[in-house]
Symmetry: C2
Subunit: 558 residues, 2 copies
C-alpha cells in the first residue's frame, strides 16, 4: 500500500522501522492474517499524517475484516499491551485523521468491513458495517431502486457513515443528527467480547427500529469515547418525499443578522425548519471557489475587509449565505415556501430550487462555461459568478443525500500547490493545514453574534482568515463551526494556528460554552473543571478496559 | 402519614416492626433528619402496595429534600449495607409502584424535591426536580403565562415528569418521547458523588439545549437501570402552536385494520403524523366509561364477543378508535386535515376538534347530563353515548399537555368497590389489580395483527378481558400495550393474571420481540438469551456500585 501523492510535512519519528516488537507484530499477524497487518515505512507514513499540527507515528496498521477479527486484534493487544486506535474510514480531517495520542499505536482501519447487510424500504432503515461510505451507501440505494435517502455530510463522500455518527457528526436533512438516527449497534468491547447492544444474540425484530431498547440505553457510551469498537449499526433512512426544494438565502447585510438568526430559531421550534440549516460567511464560499494562490496575494496574513469585499464583488458572494431543504407533499412544500418567504423576505434574497429547475440550471451553467458571452449574461441574471452558481447543484444534491467532494476544496485554500480539477481530494496526504473548532451555543443571536465577533478578532490577531459555518444542531442549539486554514509549510503560521485554537478554546470556556465534537488538540483538557464527569468516564473505562489498550486518551478518557 | 382508603390485599410480612436494625434507622435519621425517615407500620403498609401480584415489604421510607440528602442516604446505605430503592413519585402503577425485589428495602421517595428550577420560554425548556408532577408543571406554566406545553401521559396527573422519562414512558404530542426530550441531568452515583452528566460543575450554557454533550453520551445509562439517582433534569417543552386540532378516528371494522395501520406508518414516516398516536380497542373505552360491577355481570370470566358487542352498542363505542393531534400554523393545520381525510376517509369516521368546537361541545355535554331529552338528541347526533362523548374534551386537552386522572379509571374496572365521582384516584392503595405488558413491535400490520390476535386468545384462555392500546413510539415501531385487569380479591383470578403475563412474555420472545418497558414481574428473566448484554450491565454495575446497594435487580441488573 503506497501513497500516490507527494507527502506534505512528514512526522519526525523514525520512518524506517516499526515501533512494535517482533512478537507483537507476529501476534497481530496471527490474529487476522499477515496480509492485513502493515508495518512498512510507506504505510506507517501514510497513516501518520493529518491536517492538524500534531505529530505521532503509528507502529502498525491493521485491517480487520470482521467483528471476530477486531476481537482477535484486541485480545492480542491485551496480551502484548499494545494501544489500538480504531478508525472506521480514517477521513476525520481537521480533528485527527488516523493519528493517536502517542507514538507506536496500532492503527486499526475498518474499511474492509464495508458490507451493506440489510436495507428495509418499508421501515426505512439499513444495517451497515463501519467501512461503508456515504458515496457507497447512496450508490447502493440508487442501484437497487430503493426510494430511500441517506443523509450525508457536506464533507467528503469517502467518509464513513458509522464513523461520522459515532463522532456525532451532523448532516443536512431532517435526518442530519447522525447519532440520533443510529439504532441498534454491535460493539466489540476491549476484552474482545462481541455485544449486540440493546438486542439479544440475534437481535429482536425491533433492534433497528426502537432506539432505546430495554434496560439501560448504552449506545451513547460508544460515541466520542474509547469504550468499544462498533462493528455494525442500524441507520434510519429518509423516505423519498413526494416533493423537495432546496433553498438558498442571502442575508442583506450584517444589520439583519439578529433578526434572521432569531427567526430561524422560531421556525425551527415551530417544526417548520426541520433540516440542519447551514449559515456560512463569505470566507467559506471564497475558500470553496478559489485557492489563496489564485487571489494575487503572495504574502501571509488574513485578507483585509477591503480585500474580502473586492473578492465578494468579483465572485458575487454574500456576507452571509444560508441553505436548507423543504420536503413533503407538493402542497406541503408550497406552503413551506410561503412561510419562509413571509418570514425572511425583508431580510435578504431567497431562492428556491426544485429538481426541474436544477436540470435547467445545470444546462445553463455548462453552456456558460463554454461561451464567455453566455457566461456574462448568466452571471448578471444569477447575481453571482459562475463559480458560485456552480455550487448550487451540489447544495441541492447534498440536501437529498447525494454526497460530493466539491466542498472539501476549502481544505486546499492555503496550500501552496494548485488543486487540479481531476485530483482526488485528500487533504491529509496532500499536506493541507486544517483545524476544526466546533463550539456549541444556544440558538440565539444574543449568544451567537458576540461570540463570533470575538472569534473574528482572534483570527485576525493570529493573522488568519475568519471562516465560520453555523450548523443548526436542533431548534435550541447551533454549532458555530470554525475552520482554521493555515499553510502547513510555514512554520510561523503553524504556530499561529495552534495558538489560535488554544485561545478559541479558552474564550469558549470563559463564555460558558463547550465543544460539540473535539479533536486530538482538545482532548487532554476536555474535562477541565468537570472533575465528576472525568471520574465517571474513568471508572467506566477501568471496568471495561483495565489494561487501557483501546485508544487511551481519546476524548480525554484514560 | 396514613392511608385514607380501605386497604386492598395487605402484604403477608410482619406489619408491626421495621425490618431494619436500630443502627441502620439511626444512620438514615442522621443522614436526612428524623422527620424524613418513616418506619411506622402504616407507612410501611402504604409503600408496600402495588397493583401487580407481588408482595414485598419495605423496611423504611425516606424522603430526601435535595441531591445532598440523596447522597447522604446512599453513603449511609453503603456503610450499613442497606438496599435503597429510589422512586420519583411512586405512581408507577401496573409495573411496580414503590415495591422492590426483596423485603426490607429502604424506599426512597423524591416527592419533596419538587422545585421547578428554571423555565426558558425563548429556548423552550424547563429544569425540574424529580418530585415535579405533570399536573404541577402544567399549572406552573399556565400560572406564569409561558406559551409552552409540557407533554403529559394519559395516566395520572400525579405522575413524576422525570420518573416517567427515566422509565422511558411515552406521552401524546410531538414531544411524547419523554426520555428523548430530557436534556442534561444531574445524577447521584451509588457512592454518593453528585455528577452533572454532560456538564461541568456549573453546567455549560448548552447543558439543557444539546442532548449529547461532549465525550461519551451517558444519560441513557441512567434510564431503566440502577446506576444512579437522577436529582434534576432539563426537559424540552413544546412551544404553543398557532393552531391545534385533536382528531378521533373510528375504524369501520376489522377488515380495514391492515390498511389503517400501514397508512399510519406511511404518514408517520413522511413526517405528517408527528404525535404518539394511540389506537385503542373497545375494552379500553369500556373500562374507562364503566366498571364491571355496573355491567350486570356478577361472575368472573371475560366478556363474550356478544356481550362486548352489546356494550359497544349501548355506549356507542367503535371496535378500534384512534386519536392524535395536529399542530402548526392555521394553514398547516388545514393542510394536515386534508391529508388525513384523504388517507383515512374510506376506512372509517374521522372527527376533528378545535379549541372553539371544544367549548361548544362542553356546553352541550354539560346540558345533556341535566336533561334526558337533550341527552337523547346529543347521543344520536354524536353517534356515541354521553359517557363516550364526555371523554373527548379530556383527549383534546391531553394532546395539548393538560393532564387528567380521567383515563386511569380503567384501573378500577375489576374492582368490587364502586368508584365514586369525587374519589381521588389511587389504584395501588385501593387494591386494584392492574399489570401492564408492553411489547414493542415493528410498525407493520403484518407484525402487529397476528401478534394481537394470539394475545387475545391468551387473554380468553386466562378468562380475562383483552385490553390493548397501540402507541406509536416512532415511525418504525409501536408498543402494543396490554393491560391485565384482574380482581385482586379473587385468588384464582390473581393466579390467572400472573400466568397470563408469563405466557405473553414467552409468546413475545418466541416471536422475536421485546418489551419497551418492564415491571418487577419481568426483570429476573429480562436478559435471558442476551448474555453479553447482561454481562456488560453487570460490569458497569459492579464498577459504580460495588456493594450493590442501589435497587439491585432493577431491570435485571445485579
Amino acid at each position: 500500500m503506497t501513497s500516490a501523492v507527494k507527502p506534505g510535512r512528514i512526522p519526525a519519528a523514525p520512518s524506517t522501522a516499526s515501533l512494535l516488537s517482533p512478537e507483537a507484530v507476529a501476534a497481530l499477524r496471527d490474529a487476522i492474517g499477515a496480509d492485513h497487518v502493515c508495518t512498512g515505512p510507506e504505510d506507517l507514513d501514510r497513516y501518520s499524517r493529518c491536517t492538524i499540527p500534531w505529530e505521532r507515528r503509528c507502529g502498525a496498521v491493521v485491517f480487520p475484516g470482521s467483528a471476530e477479527d477486531v476481537s482477535a486484534v484486541l485480545k492480542a493487544a491485551n496480551r502484548h499491551r499494545l494501544k489500538v486506535w480504531p478508525f472506521s474510514g480514517g477521513r476525520n480531517w481537521g480533528y485527527g485523521t488516523t493519528l493517536s495520542t502517542e507514538d507506536g499505536a496500532v492503527v486499526m482501519v475498518l474499511h474492509r468491513m464495508n458490507r451493506v447487510l440489510e436495507v428495509n424500504e418499508e421501515l426505512a432503515y439499513a444495517v451497515i458495517e463501519p467501512g461503508v461510505t456515504y458515496g457507497q451507501l447512496n450508490a447502493h440505494l440508487k442501484q437497487h431502486g430503493y426510494k430511500l435517502w441517506v443523509d450525508c455530510i457536506d464533507g467528503t463522500s469517502q467518509g464513513s457513515v458509522i464513523g461520522n455518527a459515532l463522532d456525532r457528526g451532523v448532516g443536512e436533512t431532517p435526518y442530519g443528527d447522525h447519532f440520533g438516527n443510529l439504532c441498534g449497534i454491535e460493539v466489540v468491547l476491549p476484552d474482545g467480547s462481541i455485544v449486540p447492544i440493546g438486542g439479544d444474540d440475534h437481535g429482536p425484530k425491533t433492534w433497528h427500529l426502537h432506539k432505546w431498547g430495554v434496560g439501560p440505553y448504552l449506545e451513547g457510551m460508544f460515541t466520542q469515547s474509547n469504550f468499544g469498537v462498533v462493528t455494525r449499526a442500524g441507520l434510519w433512512l429518509m423516505p423519498e418525499p413526494e416533493a423537495y426544494n432546496s433553498w438558498v438565502f442571502e442575508v442583506k447585510d450584517a444589520s439583519h443578522l439578529p433578526a434572521v438568526i432569531d427567526t430561524f430559531r422560531q421556525l425551527a421550534l415551530q417544526g417548520i425548519l426541520t433540516t440542519k440549516l447551514h449559515m456560512i460567511n463569505d470566507m467559506v464560499s471564497l475558500t470553496v471557489v478559489a485557492q489563496r494562490i489564485e487571489q494575487h496575494r503572495t504574502g501571509g496574513g488574513y485578507l483585509s475587509p477591503d480585500e474580502v469585499e473586492a473578492l465578494r464583488r468579483q465572485y458575487g458572494i454574500a456576507a452571509m449565505t444560508c441553505a436548507g431543504g423543504i420536503y413533503g407533499t407538493q402542497a406541503q412544500v408550497r406552503l413551506q415556501r410561503r412561510i419562509l418567504k413571509r418570514a425572511l423576505g425583508r431580510h435578504g434574497r431567497l431562492l428556491f430550487i426544485s429538481d426541474r429547475m436544477l436540470a435547467v440550471l445545470e444546462r445553463v451553467i455548462s453552456t456558460a462555461w463554454k461561451y464567455p458571452a453566455v457566461k456574462a449574461v448568466v452571471e448578471r441574471v444569477g447575481g453571482a459568478s459562475l463559480q458560485v452558481l456552480d455550487s448550487s447543484p451540489h447544495v441541492h444534491r447534498i440536501l437529498q443525500g447525494i454526497p460530493t467532494d466539491y466542498f472539501v476544496k476549502h481544505a486546499y485554500y492555503r496550500s501552496r500547490r494548485r488543486l487540479k480539477t481531476d485530483q482526488a481530494i485528500s487533504p491529509a496526504l496532500d499536506g493541507c493545514g486544517v483545524i476544526w473548532f466546533a463550539p456549541i451555543l444556544p440558538f440565539t443571536s444574543a449568544d451567537m453574534l458576540p461570540f463570533m465577533d470575538r472569534a473574528r478578532r482572534r483570527f485576525e490577531e493570529a493573522n488568519l482568515d475568519f471562516w465560520v459555518a453555523v450548523l443548526v444542531m436542533n431548534p435550541r442549539s447551533v454549532t458555530c463551526l470554525m475552520n482554521i486554514l493555515y499553510d502547513k509549510d510555514d512554520v510561523d503560521e503553524v504556530r499561529h494556528a495552534e495558538e489560535l485554537y488554544a485561545t478559541l478554546v479558552s474564550d469558549m470556556r470563559a463564555a460558558g460554552y463547550q465543544q460539540y465534537r473535539a479533536g486530538l488538540l482538545a482532548w487532554s483538557s476536555l474535562h477541565d473543571g468537570a472533575e465528576p464527569v472525568r471520574k465517571l468516564n474513568g471508572t467506566i473505562k477501568k471496568a471495561l478496559d483495565p489494561a487501557g489498550i483501546l485508544a487511551p486518551g481519546r476524548y480525554g478518557i484514560d
